[in-house]
Symmetry: C2
Subunit: 579 residues, 2 copies
Amino acid sequence: MELKRLIGCASGREECDLLIKNVKIFNVFTGEISAGEIALAGGKIAGIGYGYRGKSVYDGGGATAIPGLIDSHIHVESSLLSPEAFASLAAAHGTTGIVADPHEIVNVCGIEGAEYIKEAFSRLSVGGVNPIDVYLQLPSCVPATPFETSGAAIDAEETAREIGRELFFGLGEMMNYPAVISGEEETLEKLQAAQEACKPIDGHAPTVSGQLLNAYAASGIATDHESENTAECLEKIACGMFVQLRGGSSASNLKSCASAVNEFNFRRFLICSDDKNARDLMRKGHVDDALRMLVQCGIDPSHAVCMATKNVADCYGLRGKGAIAPAYDGDIVLVKDMLSFAVAAVFKAGVLTVENGKALFDDEQKYFPAAVKNTVRIRSVKADDLKLDIKSGRARAMKVRPYGLISDEEIVSVDCKDGDVILEGTSLLKIAVVERHFASGNIGLGLVKDFGLKGGAIGITVAHDSHNMVILGDNNGDMARIAAALEKAGGGMAIVQNGKEYVFPLDIAGLMSSAPADEVIEKTESLTAIARKMGVKDCYEPFMTPAFLSLAVIPALKLTDRGLFDVTKFEFTTVEVKA
Amino acid sequence: MELKRLIGCASGREECDLLIKNVKIFNVFTGEISAGEIALAGGKIAGIGYGYRGKSVYDGGGATAIPGLIDSHIHVESSLLSPEAFASLAAAHGTTGIVADPHEIVNVCGIEGAEYIKEAFSRLSVGGVNPIDVYLQLPSCVPATPFETSGAAIDAEETAREIGRELFFGLGEMMNYPAVISGEEETLEKLQAAQEACKPIDGHAPTVSGQLLNAYAASGIATDHESENTAECLEKIACGMFVQLRGGSSASNLKSCASAVNEFNFRRFLICSDDKNARDLMRKGHVDDALRMLVQCGIDPSHAVCMATKNVADCYGLRGKGAIAPAYDGDIVLVKDMLSFAVAAVFKAGVLTVENGKALFDDEQKYFPAAVKNTVRIRSVKADDLKLDIKSGRARAMKVRPYGLISDEEIVSVDCKDGDVILEGTSLLKIAVVERHFASGNIGLGLVKDFGLKGGAIGITVAHDSHNMVILGDNNGDMARIAAALEKAGGGMAIVQNGKEYVFPLDIAGLMSSAPADEVIEKTESLTAIARKMGVKDCYEPFMTPAFLSLAVIPALKLTDRGLFDVTKFEFTTVEVKA
């Protein structure tokens, strides 16, 4: 009996599988760090202390042992990495678990996208042990809005059916907070289905406050990662929500929210990364990087570690996770100290999975099922399909706020020739959102001001949240070439500059690359460099800024495959300003 | 849809069922007390704040609202009260939930005893609402030891079958800690069954420390309520256990352990009462009394309240319990302040259940099924059956330590006449433990020194943990009369003094009375007074001290229906010291 052996080892009667010696051990229950040895058996922690014997012994070299780090909310797809490549980087930074919301890939591939993510992670192995636990959320907002064509739609009925599956740990972030607060039936049915299945529900409630926040919390949604400041955090905490401090690549509230944490409430904070790109994952880190940041912001290191370990386990009810104590899973990270959080080694279920900064599992062998391959299906785009006729001479252009995602409406004067707007000599670019799931031929057309690209076009098949093809350019011909190139690549990032094509395929659902992490970083950086040379302003990300131009839940003017959308009025509008 | 209405009320759009006005509200997440109003709908809390409308409005008169109090571990039977009478007293003191381990009644009646407890509580109602949630534990130690005859036995196989039932919330305190630590198969099978059913397991590990504590914690047992001092608490906390501070009638560690609580670890402490008698429940209180004590001991009131609310919910995974926040159950106690914790009113699921110190539900109508009636079955006891022949002139007598439960062995010289020990002129009493479940005729006989009873006999059918009949007396005739009287009463407490019989029936399983609480208190006090007049020393409880003389897990010399037991050697011994 497994339990009998664990108890036998804990009591010192039996020899353990592994003894980690020469470490200091951080205790999430007491907040103390004490010298000791960690005895493990059958993948679990048997005991802490001295006097144990182990079949194998690992010398921790004086490092500090903390529980395996758990990212409480992440969209793995945003790294542009395959699950395997992501896992390798994340593990090397001490991550042993992620609450993953496969929102992006499910919007493209439906449930099969989620199954793919889970399966790809599940196949990873070191000594029979999976290096990263994946708590998979069933995306709650597929599609994110009814104003665009996504690759899949999951209604309340399907949600109710799917949420009961073992595959799904909970319901992913409920971004449609206005629908929750207004009591929209379909949305509430999804929440109710998750509650009836006793599964946690993640939230997303930016700036929601007062009675509206009460309403959001009353729905049973347990978490939020959108707070922007201390007051917002504290109000959500008071409402009983767990607040996730976010250390994402583009969105981070670690600095602005750190002062919300105090000795009484620290158990109500978690750490998440939400969206983290490959470069940051490799060069800065994952949850460990957030820990460093938080400690630099003045948070007690013992509080910070709890936020990435025990608190996550408490919030989501992760049995056996989040502590170094008897009966807990043997998920342990050895860090140099609780200031640098430099990861020296990682154990998962008592097996060494990371040493000297390197994951010890094979991330080259990739799971790549048909369901996530060749997902880019468009009706052939000709240059003439991209003509935009503005008879009135006045048009609505999108202008993105520097370093942000909000795109304001700006009324611009335009000239036309041969039934198409003249871009030359203006600060305007044309933007096309090409439906790419069903080859419907839908193309939304619009104008973008002051983005700063000259002499070609740029395009990407990552376009939140429906991930159609977004193309920006200063001429129709190059834009059409981008569409063809991206179709051929099965999705990706592409540039046409002075007639020359540069393509980096995102061959997994048009969202992620099957290439190794360093190649993904190198290729995306070289494409970014080309875009910069073509004039894309420093205040914009050449690919990611366009990727958010079709997200019709962020103010104020967005473009989907069905046309220009006024987010403020929550209705479609026209590019042309009628007289 | 219920959820839709709750959200509607929370948002302020819809009128709530109840609005509690003019209160301060304690927030278990922030530790803060703030003015506000509590809006409730459908039994749940919709929102906190101002601007809500309620179909009915309750003026809190400036009281402080705290979440309903939850006793994290109690044997209801120890109150000698029926569940109905217990509920009435407990509710009046702010209790809205108990984790109940029906260890005593199940040792008498088997699973039907547990079913009775649950059903009796379930039938209580105020406006369709049950005033006290009962999280029923399946007793893990039935019988507590193999050295006595109990009314029921629940082996690992039955445990595995029963623990899966909705009736049982978890597995009751695993008192047999030596078996856990030594890895005894039958015991581990019980633990494993509970773990497989994902149900919590309560612990009981007095003075267990070091590797042995690691072993106990490795078994997956989550709680302990036996700590005696700060160091013991802190070691158990470090091992990942929840420590229950105990405010029981006979055993209280509130004072000796209070200093273990600090700002980092306070979430790991709970409050329990374990065993609480009717008198204390009525005159001192229940969990509220422990709160008062803890605050007097210097514990921050905000920490103390969490220990009786949110922490209990966290430990046991009680959904919707332990906080006043949106989506939580409307279980609210209004107290004068967080120092006196004087209960002004109680709401359960949004319904007023207690006002002006009185429970608003009927506790007179009692559930009294056949299974727990007439449980005292003995083979008729004649005076001669109680003869104790000591040929060697030397005998082992039990001597109870003052104010305690430990009974030491003392070798005494005795004279015999007609094959029976002579008590007259000595400080000895005879003790008989009469098997009372199956009328087997088993009678264990022994001697007790310095208890101080003269001129009769005293007996009770509460005798931990098998609850046989314990009789003490200075003559066989009166002792035999006690046996007959207790059989006739269906169990209870009895005294024969100078030929006069006084009996208070404990007609529910021989453990609890179906009488109202005030009658139970009055009758037990008047019997106690008689016993005192007969000379029972102040350092002993006339009934409860004998009730523990047959508990063969407490040192050092105990008597069961099968004979004298040496707890130190863990084997039966003889009263007579052979030459």
